[in-house]
């Protein structure tokens, strides 16, 4: 059996792209500053050199970037397109919701749409239009898969799966994770969509979180464990498909749930989890739901203001104590 190597999240993404581009000549990679610059977050180094015209830069034309992915996919390629900042899903929402999401359906399955939209979400200091986590917007729309990798391992495995998927996938890369290291399995490594991971086991409470919030939750879990409170931490890995069963199973055991997310609170992903539990685990709950999220305020620019809005490790610790009190 093969081992693992330590890679950063960004390196894992690069490796996934390189492997899939080697494997399938139909994979192409494009976006603003993708080719020569290697991506604005510089994670794509060397791909242009290796794959030539299959890696290219586009104009600042987000509708085109996403729309052309739909067309190229219809024509049989497997485009991987980049939106520099995840907020730009709103710039191309016509193409994301109504082209990626419904072209196949409207034409009754005449086409497969194997395309990936990579976009960098979250992170601080870039202001209200360069910092959002648009998970909820995307998860609401039918026809679009949504991956939210939290570790280098999953970043690689999910991106490879996304590229091989025959459906449109939005792949959100969290800016603050690019430099974070982790073990990645050697060799061919694919991660399944729709299977949540239990990142930590416990029976005091179920916490659902992903990406940067998962890091904060795991830090909080350490602190809580020191006091004998063992929480279970679930990383959904993909939000569409969404692994309801793993969350339900955990909550049926722990009796309660806290969702920690970096999106806006109202109709954030936590809302769906809350409703799900109330529908399907009603009898097993012994605590109210808690949601920690951005309190329905745009993301400001100054770091310390952002931190006033985004759930912190302290917030998580406090919320857990209140719930398991």
């Amino acid at each position: 059996m093969s081992g693992t190597r330590s890679l950063s999240y960004g390196e894992a993404i690069r490796e996934a792209l390189a492997e899939e581009m080697r494997r399938d000549p139909g994979v192409i990679l494009y976006g603003e500053d993708v080719a020569v610059y290697g991506g604005i977050f510089r994670v794509l180094a060397g791909l242009r050199e290796e794959f030539g015209e299959r890696v290219f830069d586009t104009p600042i034309s987000e509708n085109l970037i996403v729309g052309a992915a739909v067309g190229a996919a219809m024509a049989g390629l497997r485009p991987v397109a980049e939106l520099q900042f995840a907020d730009f899903v709103y710039c191309a929402a016509d193409e994301i919701v109504l082209k990626c999401g419904t072209w196949r359906y409207a034409h009754d399955g005449a086409f497969r749409l194997p395309l990936v939209i990579r976009a960098a979400s979250g992170g601080y200091g870039f202001g209200p239009e360069h910092s959002q986590c648009p998970e909820a917007f995307l998860m609401h729309q039918p026809g679009i898969r949504l991956a939210v990798p939290s570790t280098p391992d999953d970043a690689k495995g999910l991106l490879k799966t996304a590229i091989r998927s025959d459906d449109p996938v939005v792949f959100l890369e969290h800016k603050l994770l690019y430099g974070v290291k982790g073990e990645v399995p050697d060799g061919e490594h694919l991660t399944s969509f729709g299977r949540a991971r239990v990142r930590r086991s416990g029976d005091a409470l179920t916490i659902v979180a992903w990406q940067d919030m998962l890091r904060r939750v795991l830090a909080a879990a350490e602190r809580l464990a020191a006091d004998g409170i063992e929480v279970e931490v679930i990383d959904p890995v993909t939000l569409n498909p969404f692994d309801r069963e793993t969350i339900l199973g955990s909550v049926r055991r722990t009796g309660g749930c806290l969702v920690v997310e970096e999106a806006y609170r109202t109709l954030g992903v936590g809302a769906e989890i809350g409703a799900l539990l109330m529908e399907q685990a009603f009898g097993d709950l012994d605590k109210p739901l808690r949601r920690l999220a951005i309190p329905d305020v745009p993301v400001p620019t100054a770091q310390h203001l952002v931190e006033a809005l985004v759930p912190s490790v302290d917030d998580v610790v406090r919320a857990v104590r209140e719930l398991v009190g």
Partner: protein, 322 residues
């Protein structure tokens, strides 16, 4: 010149134009009678231009069509009953009630569909052309659109991208001077949409859409250039929208007389006169053709009447491929 129609093509263009005209007349009658949903945007007056343009392209040239009428599909030989079934939401159409007449599709005939939000065709079509170029293919991607649609941002983004990368795209504008009720003079800063081509480094050509020989020639020339790898072309045909925007449009924004005056530009009688002059058509042949077409339409209508509605379970299918 190789750019001109040959006689076989002339006869085919004429037959298809007549078929489209008569077929839409029937569809409108059925819609007004409540037998079909009134979802078609009538193409009367523009079908000849559509059909002549497509005759100058190859049958495997990928097409994203406009919402104006049935000419695009008839040009590509799609059987009438399939179109009718799509309108009616019955089994036997191309999209089983999902997209109706807005989303007729047939990849085998290189009919790639339509974007319901105007302008989507541009960006999706640019992607199809990108794939064609990367694979060194020689097909031309044709995108039909109206003058009004040229004001969406997607036009700009796709045209610039196509121009910068010399993609094999034909931007085919059917300029009928209206976007529903809004005259182009109110909404659009220029008279000729083709004047926008220069801003994307591509040729812009204006042609009289009621002169089908001219439409054919201009399209053939554009396609030639595009196939040679010299990049996209914006071709604008000046056409007349004889009817309302949709079946049942009361058209409060223009007078019947103003439209009737424009009927002088109807390409159907004009093209028929030309065919007669060339000895390709006479009264007897026309009568024969009309009756053939009536039979074809009758048969399609009968067929669709017998077809069942698509099953309700269909609504849940084909959201995802896997």
């Amino acid at each position: 010149m190789s750019d001109a129609m040959d006689d076989a093509t002339r006869l085919e263009v004429h037959r298809k134009m007549l078929l489209a005209r008569r077929f839409e007349e029937r569809v409108r009658r059925l819609a007004m009678a409540g037998e079909l949903p009134a979802t078609l945007h009538p193409g009367e007056g523009q079908e000849g231009c559509q059909i002549a343009a497509l005759a100058a392209l190859r049958p495997d040239d990928p097409m994203l069509y406009g919402h104006r009428g049935v000419g695009y599909w008839i040009a590509r030989g799609l059987p009438l009953e399939r179109i009718l079934c799509d309108i009616a939401g019955k089994e036997g159409g191309t999209n089983r009630g999902k997209g109706g007449v807005m989303h007729v599709v047939d990849p085998g005939r290189a009919i790639l569909g339509e974007s319901g939000t105007l302008g989507g065709n541009f960006v999706v079509g640019a992607g199809v052309a990108l794939a064609e170029r990367l694979r060194r293919g020689d097909r031309v991607v044709v995108m039909f659109f109206g003058d009004g649609t040229s004001n969406r941002g997607q036009f700009h983004e796709a045209a610039n991208f196509a121009g910068a990368r010399k993609l094999p795209c034909l931007f085919f504008c059917e300029n009928n001077g209206w976007a529903v009720s809004v005259p182009a003079s109110e909404s659009t800063a220029v008279r000729d949409i083709a004047s926008r081509a220069a801003g994307y480094g591509m040729p812009g050509v204006v042609v009289d859409g009621s002169d089908l020989e001219a439409v054919y020639r201009a399209t053939a020339r554009a396609a030639d250039r595009i196939r040679r790898g010299e990049g996209p072309v914006l071709l604008e045909a000046k056409v007349v929208r004889f009817l309302g925007h949709f079946v049942g449009d009361p058209e409060p924004y223009r007078t019947r007389e103003s439209v009737e005056a424009e009927r002088a530009r109807d390409p159907l009688p004009r093209f028929q006169r030309e065919l007669r002059a060339r000895g390709l058509l006479d009264d007897a042949r026309l009568a024969g053709l009309e009756s053939e077409i009536t039979t074809e339409i009758d048969r399609a209508v009968e067929h669709v009447r017998r077809q069942p509605l698509v099953a309700a379970a269909t609504a849940f299918e084909s959201v995802y491929a896997s």
